[in-house]
Symmetry: C2
Subunit: 246 residues, 2 copies
C-alpha cells in the first residue's frame, strides 16, 4: 500500500509520501512516490503517486519526457495548474488504454491515483486530486488536504489540527504525526518518508527531504507524541457509571 | 456503515457498537447492534453485528429463538464460548443459504460479520471474531481487540493505549476516544453508542449503557480529548530543517 498526503494552507503547500510498495508480502520494495517539476522563479509542481506501480511510473515517464517536446503542452510550459491536472489525467488514460486490458484480464488492479499541486507564475498555489479515471477535484479552504492510499488511520489528526491559517511548519509536523499513526497501525506503509514543501509565491521548492526510519527528529516526534497522547488520555476523568461498577 | 469494537483485558470484556445504519444517504436509521445472552451467575455473552442488516438480524433471531428449543444446543446452554462462536457461524451460513443468492443476484452485499464474547461458568472469558463465511478467530493477549466496520480511524488510539493489564474503566475510556476519532472523520458512524461490559468471573453483565450524542460525560471526554491532543501537538518542537526554510 501507500500513504500520501498533501496540504494546502495559506502559507504554501506541503507534500509527503511513503516509499513502500508491495506485490504480496514477500515482494516488498522501496520506490519514490514524489516527483517534482520545477523551473525556479517560474513554476514549482509536485506530483504524488499511488496504486499500480507500473501504471503510475508510466504516467510520470510520459509527463517527464514531454519536457523535451517543446511544441507539446507539458508540466514545464502549461500556464495553469488546472491544465497540469488535465495533463496528468490524460497521461493516465493513455497508459490505461495501453496496459489496462491486459492487467484486467489477469485480475490485476490497474488503477492509479495522483495528487498534483504547486504554483505557476501568474496563479496562486493550487492542489488537485486526480482519480483513477483521469477526472479530478481541487482543494478548497474547507477541504484543504488530499490523501492517497491508507488514508484513514492518519485522518483524525489532520482533521483536528490543520486549517488554512496553519503555518507551514505546523502542517509539516501534523503530517509527521499522521504518518506515525498510520505506520503504527499498518505495516504496508513504511519509511523513508519523502517530504516536500513549496512556500506561497516562492515559485520554487523550499525543501525536498527524505526522512529515514531512524531520523532523530522523527524518532523524537514519535516518542514525544506517544507520551503526549498517553498524558492527554490519563487526564480524562472516569464517569460515575464506570467507577460504580468496576 | 458501522463501528463496533470489543476488547478483552485481564479484568474483563468491553463491547461497544454505534447504532447508525444506512442504505444510501437518504435512508439512515438507528438500529441496535449489541445483543446480550445472559443467565446471571451462569453465563454472560454479548454479540456485536455488522454488515447487511437483514442478514445480521436474521442471525440474531435464530440465536434467540433457540432458547425455547431446550433440546437444541444454543447460546443459552452450550458449554463453551468456542461452541457459541460455532453457533453464530452456523446460523450465519443458514441465513446466507436462504437469502444470499437473491441478494447477490441483485448486486447487494449480503455479507455480515460478528463479534461474540463473554464467559460461561467453567471457562475463562473469551472473545471471537466471526467472518462473513462463518469461520472465526479468537482474541489473545497479543491481539486483544476486534473491530467491525469503519475500524481504521479509531485503531491508532487502541494500539497506543490498551493492553491486557488495562483496567476495565481505561479500556472503556479508550473505546470512547476511539469513537470520537471515528465519528469526527466519518459521518456514517453515529451516536448513540451502546456500551456493555462483563467483569472477569462475574458471569453477568455489569453495565449495558446507551450513550447519547449529548451525554454530558461523552461530550466532556470529546472536548477534553481535543484539548489534550492539541496540547500534545503544540508541545512538539520544530526541526532545524523546517525553521530554516519557513
Amino acid at each position: 500500500m501507500t500513504y500520501c498526503v498533501a496540504v494546502k494552507v495559506d502559507s504554501g503547500l506541503v507534500f509527503a509520501s511513503d516509499t513502500r510498495t508491495n506485490a504480496g508480502v514477500d515482494h516488498i520494495a522501496t520506490f519514490r512516490k514524489t516527483y517534482t517539476f520545477e523551473i525556479p522563479g517560474e513554476r514549482a509542481i509536485v506530483v504524488l503517486t499511488s496504486g499500480n506501480l507500473s501504471v503510475s511510473q508510466s504516467v510520470i515517464s510520459r509527463l517527464e519526457r514531454a519536457r523535451y517536446l517543446p511544441e507539446t503542452e507539458s508540466l514545464w510550459n502549461t500556464v495553469s495548474l488546472y491544465n497540469a491536472a488535465c495533463l496528468v489525467g490524460e497521461a493516465l488514460r493513455q497508459v490505461q488504454l495501453r496496459d489496462g486490458p491486459a492487467l484486467v484480464q489477469s485480475g490485476i488492479d490497474a488503477s492509479s491515483s495522483f495528487v498534483i499541486g504547486g504554483q505557476i507564475r501568474g496563479e496562486s498555489a493550487r492542489l488537485f486530486h486526480v482519480y483513477p479515471q483521469g477526472n479530478f477535484i481541487e482543494a478548497t479552504d474547507d477541504a484543504l488536504y488530499f490523501q492517497l492510499g491508507e488514508s484513514k488511520y492518519g485522518k483524525p489528526i489532520l482533521d483536528r489540527i490543520v486549517n488554512s491559517a496553519s503555518p507551514l511548519h505546523e502542517a509539516i509536523k501534523c503530517i509527521l504525526v499522521s504518518y506515525d499513526s498510520t505506520m503504527r497501525s499498518n505495516i504496508s506503509v513504511g519509511a523513508p518518508i519523502d517530504l516536500t514543501f513549496i512556500p506561497r509565491d516562492a515559485l520554487q521548492i523550499a525543501l525536498n527531504q527524505r526522512i529515514e526510519e531512524d531520523d532523530p527528529y522523527f524518532l523524537m516526534v514519535r516518542r514525544q507524541w506517544g507520551v503526549g497522547v498517553r498524558r492527554a488520555f490519563a487526564g480524562l476523568p472516569d464517569p460515575d457509571w464506570i467507577s460504580q461498577n468496576t
